[in-house]
Symmetry: C2
Subunit: 424 residues, 2 copies
């Protein structure tokens, strides 16, 4: 099948359309029209570094280089972190190899993962009696791993369901313990969070599960309920490291990295050490916290490059002054968009109860819903992309994680006002 | 804790040693003496691209830039692939974003994963009735996922154990079905492979499991046994895409990417479609092949950047002329080292039976074992690193995957002869 391919150096760049026959994929160059004006022939020249000085200053203001990417995750990363990763991708700090090539048991990679953990501990002020684990499989794997490790099959546990992710976590837990939804926002389309004193917790529940920020619905906890029994478990995937958190209130915190702290493929678990070591017998070894804790996340080969990227982000967050400073920026950005919505006289609408609106994911609709497609299309022309709402909700969604620059939010708000003026 | 950190752009580069107090990690710069001569201050300048022309020609011959990395995995990657990844890390082909920032449901990433799959199908000539899945969790997760998906708890299955990885796979399967080791090389320290006709297979076994290349012991199957009943399942982690394979002989092939085809964090599964859909009830959703096959590996967020890197490697393997050409190169490299061992009059020894010696991992010892530490140290001085054997075996191990250039093997062989001349 490969017999007609040449072995010349340039053939790396050739795309044989026949190779696609098995899948008939959409061709990026022919179908992704929003980017058509930017499309250049693929090239192996280091364009980004040869046309601009490499510096730690974010290059996002240069419209020729970056779009403002409002995707819900994987999501925009800090421009300076990407530049640093690019500079050292081929040869990490004189080691003669890429981070992607390093033995996970070699001193170089050990220095990377240990620094990443130390910096995360500093950022969140994680107490010593908590383990920090770098795992794989996303929050979806945690949905099973948590009951498998914290429960016996007959144990009751409580779930507060404030959105689709909490609902998925509950459903998966049904395989491994006796979970109960003690509150659901579904009938109100997941637009609020209950008063904690109204929660009818099971006094025997092994844990109380919440999702601190529902990515799809834009609902975020500002404070946390206290479990009547057992521990508080939180899916923080989409607001992890976006603000300070008192880790000691939780038994277990978990987060996919691909929102605020890195690329996809890394899952971070912060777990109180005394909860480790009681996995059910049917637990696959890779889903047992004990094996990962005992081996400092190196039982098998971890997702090394992703961990390295998370480490660069942690370093950057510390350099910004830590999570107190980061939260200030996030509040300012969110306020700008919510104000634009609330001051639009109903042209834009956010369905979420004001007191629990997310600082990370801002869902909104247009009063004239037939204009939504045009809104998204026009925004993309101005290099603001991924603004379409989740397919289950519709409308628009602006995800404005830590790495979204203020300039991106300001540009979006200006665009929103302009769009309203044209169509009001 | 972060209050003393400044927020100046340069602070990203500062390493505050106090930040390490929780872990007391080894400092890379102070303890990794083998690399001391190469250590330069960390810098965000794009040194690799500014000091050398960016071209698809491997830069490995430049001793200032690359070491020869004989690690068993994560392992050396093609230099031209790394250069290409570096060039487009910050801005992928004019999209205005890094691959790490792309929504996994966006057209850009879909084009990447679909091309990766199409190229892998071309490389291995994968029949249409097989699904290709890009998963997480490494081979270790497959050790559980395979019996969970292919067996009921009472089903018998057969394992041929030719090394440590096959043994681990067997042990994990004990949780989910009734596996039996029908042959083990343990008593002979895993140095050979049985005659297939001598295998006493269970006529009711749902599958026969082999590990086609044992990374630690350097034992490789050249041909494959035929299961009496059921299907053949193979862990190909460490020789995946190193030579042509008749996929139709197997029901399921799996491989961690981090040897021959990419960075760690991606696991590739090739599975006959009619085997999908029978997972046990206790199977976590992320361990069910059905959910991944139905969603084209996009049920949850996949390890996007790792898949992208695998795609670049597949493209490169096709450009080399496909796996027939790749196998020729691998045979030539392996022959050079094995000849050096066999012609050393016993100075070097390889314990593995000649007919099943691995083309990928070459374990060897010194007759004078007290010289082994010096061998490894002297080799590192000449920029040949990660030659220490696995802790369970000792001695040396040269892993010479696809991406190890012939020049690296030639240099090692010359070093071996020189070392012998000095110490014979």
């Amino acid at each position: 099948m490969a017999s007609k391919l040449t072995s010349s150096p340039n053939s790396l760049l050739l795309q044989n359309p026949n190779r696609h026959h098995l899948l008939k994929p959409n061709s990026y160059t022919t179908t992704f029209s929003n980017f058509a004006t930017q499309n250049k022939p693929s090239s192996i020249r280091c364009a980004a570094t040869s046309t601009a000085p490499v510096s730690p200053i974010p290059a996002t203001q240069d419209p020729e280089e970056r779009v403002f990417n409002f995707a819900a995750g994987p999501a925009t990363l800090p421009a300076n972190v990407l530049k640093k990763a690019q500079a050292e991708l081929y040869n990490w700090r004189g080691s003669g190899m890429s981070v992607m090539e390093m033995s996970h048991r070699g001193k170089e990679f050990l220095s990377i993962i240990q620094k990443a953990e130390a910096d995360l501990r500093a950022l969140l002020d994680i107490p010593e009696d908590y383990a920090v684990l770098f795992l794989q499989g996303g929050a979806t794997t945690q949905f099973a791993m948590i009951p498998l490790n914290l429960c016996k099959p007959d144990d009751p546990v409580d779930y507060v369901v404030t959105g689709s992710w909490g609902d998925k976590a509950f459903k998966e837990a049904q395989k491994f313990c006796m979970p109960k939804v003690i509150w659901s926002g579904k009938s109100e389309k997941y637009t609020n969070i209950p008063a904690f004193e109204s929660l009818e917790q099971n006094p025997d529940a092994k844990y109380l599960h919440i999702c601190t920020n529902e990515t799809i619905h834009g609902v975020e906890f500002n404070d946390y309920p206290t479990p009547k029994n057992g521990i508080l478990v939180a899916d923080m995937s989409s607001n992890f490291c976006s603000k300070p958190v008192d880790v000691s209130k939780f038994g277990l915190i978990y987060a996919g990295a691909q929102k605020n702290v890195g690329p996809s493929g890394v899952t971070i678990v912060i777990i109180k050490k005394d909860l480790i070591g009681n996995a059910q017998e049917i637990t696959p070894v890779m889903l047992d916290y004990k094996i990962h804790a005992e081996n400092n996340s190196l039982y098998n080969t971890p997702p090394c490059y992703g961990i390295y990227m998370c480490g660069l982000v942690f370093e950057d967050l510390l350099a910004q002054g830590g999570l107190t400073e980061v939260e200030k920026k996030n509040k300012k950005k969110a306020e700008l968009i919510y104000n634009a919505i609330d001051e639009s006289n109903g042209f834009y609408r956010c369905p979420v109860e004001k007191s629990v609106r997310s600082l990370m994911n801002v869902p909104f609709t247009l009063e004239k819903s037939d204009l939504e497609a045009e809104f998204i299309k026009e925004a993309a022309k101005e290099k603001m992309v991924q603004l379409k709402g989740h397919r289950s909700v519709g409308g628009m969604r602006a995800s404005i994680y830590n790495a979204m620059p203020l300039a991106g939010v300001e540009k979006l708000v200006a665009f929103m006002k302009d769009f309203q003026a044209k169509h009001a």
